[in-house]
């Protein structure tokens, strides 16, 4: 056991602050089991070192990974389904009408984790807009190399494909690969995965027509939120669309966005001249 009481308390406080989830005393083994892979990936020997590392050099990205490792087992496919419905019913038809026939559309799934969001978008395109699917490319980025590699591989565990993926889409878009399921090659071809740290200057990408930046901003302080939104906007087309998480907004953070209600969800568009 490498986890001291002080380290465990620190983890408890962080998880409670970021997610409002309470880790009861006695859950040290859970913290060990879930955080050890993160520690190993960062080249650290154990969870104690991971905690020391993040405590002495605070990093929202690493905090997010710790919180996510302890609070979510799997990411859902159609997590908060409405932002996906809006994509094929409103957003893409509008963009396709506005662009020339040969012009490509680019979608960015930022902080993509293991790729569920990017592949959800790809499946929707193939099913609902098969004629347009060939004109769309999807860029998936994550801070973690491991997540980028998982996204590229497009392989998901049984538990992962059980989470909010309609069975009809599972059988249409996946094949079995050992104990896992693999996304079909046609979808993998639509998705390009690459490493990217949202809190640092962004690589040359885009320009993007649609950006999914969901459940990311909540982990950052106000100045960093503002910087991220500014950088994201610089990679977007002027008539692009930004989707945030259900509990996130640009209001009070960055006033250069216009909020647009789309059915039961909402999106943000760059304000002209802002």
């Amino acid at each position: 056991m490498t986890l001291t009481a002080t380290s465990f308390d620190w983890v408890r406080q962080v998880v409670h602050r970021e997610s409002a989830i309470v880790l009861a005393p006695g859950k040290e083994y859970l913290v060990e089991a879930r955080l050890l892979p993160i520690a190993r990936q960062m080249g650290l020997a154990d969870v104690g070192q991971l905690v020391d590392n993040v405590r002495t050099r605070p990093s929202p990205e690493n905090t997010r990974r710790i919180v996510e490792a302890l609070t979510t087992n799997e990411t859902s496919w159609f997590r908060d389904g409405d932002p996906f419905t809006a994509l094929t019913t409103t957003v893409l038809p509008a963009l396709l009408a506005a662009r020339g026939a040969g012009e490509r559309l680019q979608i960015w799934s930022a902080a993509c984790s293991s790729g569920q969001e990017a592949y959800t978008i790809a499946m929707l395109l193939e099913d609902a807009m098969p004629n347009a699917a060939g004109r769309v490319s999807i860029t998936a980025t994550d801070l973690s190399r491991e997540m980028v590699e998982r996204t590229r591989a497009g392989r998901f565990s049984q538990l992962e494909v059980n989470r909010g993926l309609p069975a009809s889409m599972l059988v249409r878009h996946f094949t079995r690969a050992g104990s896992e399921w693999e996304v079909n090659a046609s979808l993998r071809r639509m998705v390009t995965a690459t490493e990217c740290n949202l809190a640092a200057p962004l690589p040359r990408m885009g320009p993007f027509d649609v950006v999914y930046l969901r459940n990311v901003l909540i982990y950052f302080d106000l100045p960093t939120k503002q910087a991220i939104l500014r950088r994201v906007r610089s990679l977007m087309r002027p008539d692009g669309w930004l989707f945030l998480g259900a509990a996130e907004t640009t209001l009070g953070v960055d006033d250069s966005w216009e909020r647009v209600v789309l059915g039961r969800s909402s999106a943000y568009r760059p304000l002209k001249g802002a």
């Binding site: 089991a33 087992n73 049984q158 050992g178 104990s179």
Partner: protein, 190 residues
């Protein structure tokens, strides 16, 4: 004769696959972890460490019949099997578990693990309903893939083992086929 020789000779004479050609320990481990998360509890951890099983053990298994035919067998101490059953039933566990509760719950874990293992095998296979009792015998030592785990500090073994004896051309001196003791005669009546 070494196990290696046995496998080589078998391959030369027969197309029947052995389980080690079809699945590895890491796959069984990941299947078991997912079954535990789902059935036993979302925070349950299985540690891949071998440990001696107690004298009083109980097994639950399902049979897989297809291109590969055999059983997926979970074995653990009787008390651990009861603890697993209690964890499965959670709030609806009665104060005292009867034999039927344990047979049912422990059998369901074998069903879920066996179903996932079956899905990784080539071709179509059928799955039997679960059985609980004394483990079916290992018929062919080279047709076994087994992992040993610790759950809450207690040993749990998962063995994916062929139902058919080694072919006559490659007899297994450690586990001679015994025609008088079929798999099902070991089964405890439910």
């Amino acid at each position: 004769m070494t196990a290696f020789d046995t496998a080589e000779r078998r391959r030369a004479t027969d197309a029947r696959p052995v389980i080690t050609e079809l699945i590895d320990e890491a796959t069984i481990q990941s299947i078991a972890e997912q079954a535990w998360i789902s059935l036993v509890g979302e925070e349950e951890v299985l540690v891949p460490l071998p440990a001696e099983l107690p004298a009083d053990v109980l097994s639950s298994w399902v049979d897989v019949v297809g291109p590969w035919t055999g059983s997926v067998v979970l074995t653990t101490g009787r008390r651990t099997a009861e603890e697993l059953s209690r964890a499965l039933l959670r709030d609806s566990a009665p104060p005292v578990l009867d034999e039927e509760d344990v047979v049912d719950a422990f059998g369901e874990i074998a069903n879920v693990v066996g179903g996932s293992i079956k899905a990784t095998l080539p071709g179509h296979s059928a799955l039997s309903l679960p059985s609980v009792g004394a483990s079916p015998e290992v018929r062919n030592a080279s047709d076994v893939c087994r992992i040993d785990l610790l759950w809450r500090g207690e040993p749990v073994a998962i063995s994916v083992q062929g139902a058919l004896p080694a072919l006559p051309s490659s007899p297994d001196p450690h586990h001679p086929a015994d025609p008088d003791r079929s798999t099902y005669e070991n089964e405890v009546p439910l």
